[in-house]
Symmetry: C2
Subunit: 457 residues, 2 copies
């Protein structure tokens, strides 16, 4: 008997997800239905697959949505997170499992008891970050604890970057996911974490100067800056009294220091609309944030304001982005600085058709076992194939797809609104990810912590 | 026949206001009723005055509030701005005039038609800033325009400072008004203004480094940083196409650069609660914002982080505030960084009983008249008497009191929700303020603008 999978939203990040279902569709007896507001954008190879049906679906039309859901056995929502709630409510009512790669909202969390009562699995945060980070971290943490070890330190960094072979700009960066999230990253409050038992707070305007460096074997050096709340999963991971807990974002060395120029200027601000933005040149935009002068150039004012020496490579990084171009024009009216900066960056940082992206994830686990302190470093690097088959689409889409099939096959059965932090979930998914080349390397290294007195203890 | 004035809220800022009414009470046949939640705090000389009645009043008890208002001819609300609305609604219903020193909220503004229909005057923003700034600026602007002149530039700065004779700390600053407003000043969005026809935006973390200096004859040098929205009164003042419009806050030279240290550290943040704030030392608080080190001192970490050289006087300014004191303890639980910083600053910046404060206001008016560009600089300095009779209480309270009497005496009659920008209002009030020593000095100076080519044109 065929099992019906309904995928809502088939954006460009779903290539690997859809392929996974269709590849398995004969063996696993799957029928895939894709509901999308704009089905024309779905590739012909998908649409024409015998085990696939595509329907035009406006998620806000209650009747249409319910009809699609009622005919399915499990629902995968790849819609923007703010659209999940209507789907989730239908899934409870109509008794369907649900899988999403999004953060668990308060509203979704509130469905937990009803979801449990009906024996349903609502799996969330099962993409890359959140997703693979949860699973790979909890597998190591549980293993340390099962041996009787005590966790001292957990640091984790993820970056969506450009692969070395396609890395051809001075920032060593291209957009591989939602550019808006990159432009406003870190905003909305101080970054908070714990280091050796001390709480630490970094305001937004210092975030990109408080980076740390690390090396990934075979891929060179990277840097990491703190995410806004490193402590979010302290309870979920069972790390109540851990000394060091830090979650960060990875970039190539030098990116953050250069990005800080935008922060300092105020160009990443998303809280107000620029007056007369429509028709303004990139150069005029840059000048909004600099003191007035009837004679001095925008270039020199910026160098002086940000104290950029003549031989500072940050200057070439700025120039590469056409920030001083008086011919390039902003088309949007009433745009925020962040929206305009995004537009300017997209000119330079969009993947070409054959560009490959790269996902890097790096965990450090410090622990004490039998009186000895040790550390495990683990990392995974995934390189994309091209602009359609990105490492980002792979690392987000595959865990979603694998989880969906495991739920259908009753290998994941614990009901409730959940994230993938239990062995029932992470073991089979991480095992299957290995078959697709997503496999962590682990290294035993000396425990360092941040307290040199304890080295070698 | 006696006229009844109801004053709601008799905080420490009302000394001059209450005295003004009581001094005039026999000649002008006034009876003053003071409604306050805590009447015990009102000085005996006020309470015992034969023309004064004091009532204990909880503004949220509708019956009590209405009863107080119904027996009055005019209501003066010195309550915090968020409490004005209930009073304003009663005043419309019961047909009483209303005077406040607060900004016109949307809700109050929405009463305009009903206020006009009943022939009432709702006078707002009639304190110092807003208040005296509106009146003194509009008197000059109207005079320029009445001569046929065209406004090119308007800049205005106000500062609540400590008088030179009581200025005994390195910051040349003490709190003379709500300390909280000082700590969070400039937050909530970029500062926006126009210079020579160009919009300019300064993000919060750069605000205190984009100051300008000026000299007030007899009082030395000051600096000014931009207020959040300099353009708020562009329409109200009729300055639609002015080239330069800037509103700022005044401090003694060096304050802003030093204050910027708190901003850079993140100590002025009011958006989150510090974990375990209760019982934390001032030193531990400072360390929250610095990188972890098992060996380096908080002092050196801070100097390094903020690049404070050994001979930089900012260092003494910080040290003076006990920021590195491990004995001084924060008593509040779940306090924000801004609340904790306020506590620390209040230790050092509170006026002593005999300390005098100082209000400084400075306007620049650039204009073109008969083909010639000119500039008028105007300033006023007011020195307080002591901690009870402050220059702040005087400059806020007297305009409120004077306006109240003028409305009672039907010298201000134009009805509606308004601010003091018409000759009917500003002329008699500014004239009466002169009798109390609040008098602007005006200087004709060469028009400078920001465009040296036009100097002398």
């Amino acid at each position: 008997m065929l099992r019906n999978i309904l995928v809502l939203g088939a954006g460009k990040s779903t290539s690997y997800l859809l392929d996974y279902f269709l590849e398995k569709s004969n063996v696993e007896k799957l029928h895939l239905t894709i509901g999308d507001i704009n089905p024309d954008a779905i590739p012909k190879t998908i649409k024409d697959h015998p085990n696939c049906t595509v329907v035009q679906l406006d998620i806000f039309k209650d009747k249409d949505r319910e009809k699609a859901i009622i005919n399915s056995d499990i629902v995968v929502s790849m819609l923007p997170a703010r659209f999940h709630m209507k789907v989730a409510e239908d899934c409870v009512t109509l008794e369907k499992h649900l899988v999403t790669a999004s953060y668990v909202s308060k509203e979704i969390k509130a469905l937990d008891q009803r979801v449990k009562d009906k024996g349903l699995v609502f799996m969330n945060e099962i993409g890359l970050d959140p997703g693979i980070d949860h699973m790979s971290a909890m597998q190591v943490i549980d293993s340390i604890r099962n041996q009787g070890g005590k966790m001292l330190l957990f640091e984790t960094f993820t970056g969506g970057l450009v692969a070395p072979e396609s890395d051809d700009n001075l920032w060593n960066y291209k957009f591989t996911w939602n550019p808006r999230n990159v432009v406003i990253a870190g905003q909305g409050g101080a970054a908070k974490f714990i280091q050796e038992g001390s709480y630490k707070y970094i305001p937004y305007h210092k975030l990109f100067r408080r980076t740390e460096f690390f090396e990934i074997e075979g891929y060179g050096r990277f840097e990491g800056y703190a995410n806004r709340d490193s402590l979010n999963y302290r309870e979920a991971y069972g790390l109540h009294d851990i000394l060091t807990l830090y979650r960060g974002t990875m970039r190539r060395v030098g990116f953050s220091k250069a990005w800080n120029m935008f922060v300092q200027l105020g160009m990443t601000d998303d809280s107000y609309a620029v007056e007369n933005s429509k028709g303004m040149s990139y150069r005029e935009f840059t000048n909004l944030f600099l003191p007035y002068s009837p004679t001095d150039s925008v270039e020199l004012k910026l160098r002086h304001y940000l104290k950029i020496d003549q031989d500072d490579s940050k200057w070439e990084m700025l120039s590469e982005l056409n920030l001083f171009d008086a011919q390039k024009i902003i088309p949007m009216a009433n745009a925020t600085p962040a929206q305009i900066l995004q537009l300017i960056l997209e000119d330079s940082w969009t993947l070409d058709q054959d560009d490959k992206d790269m996902i890097v994830m790096y965990h450090k686990f410090g622990y004490e076992l039998n009186g000895k302190k040790s550390q495990i470093d683990a990392n995974v690097v995934v390189i994309g194939e091209n602009r359609s088959y990105t490492a980002m689409a792979k690392t987000v889409g595959l865990p979603v797809a694998i989880a969906t099939l495991l739920i259908l096959n009753k290998q994941i059965t614990t009901p409730g609104v959940q994230i993938p932090i239990t062995p029932e979930v992470y073991n089979p998914i991480l095992a299957e990810l290995k078959n697709y080349g997503i496999s962590f390397k682990e290294y035993e290294v000396p425990y360092l912590g941040y307290n040199p007195d304890t080295v070698g203890n």
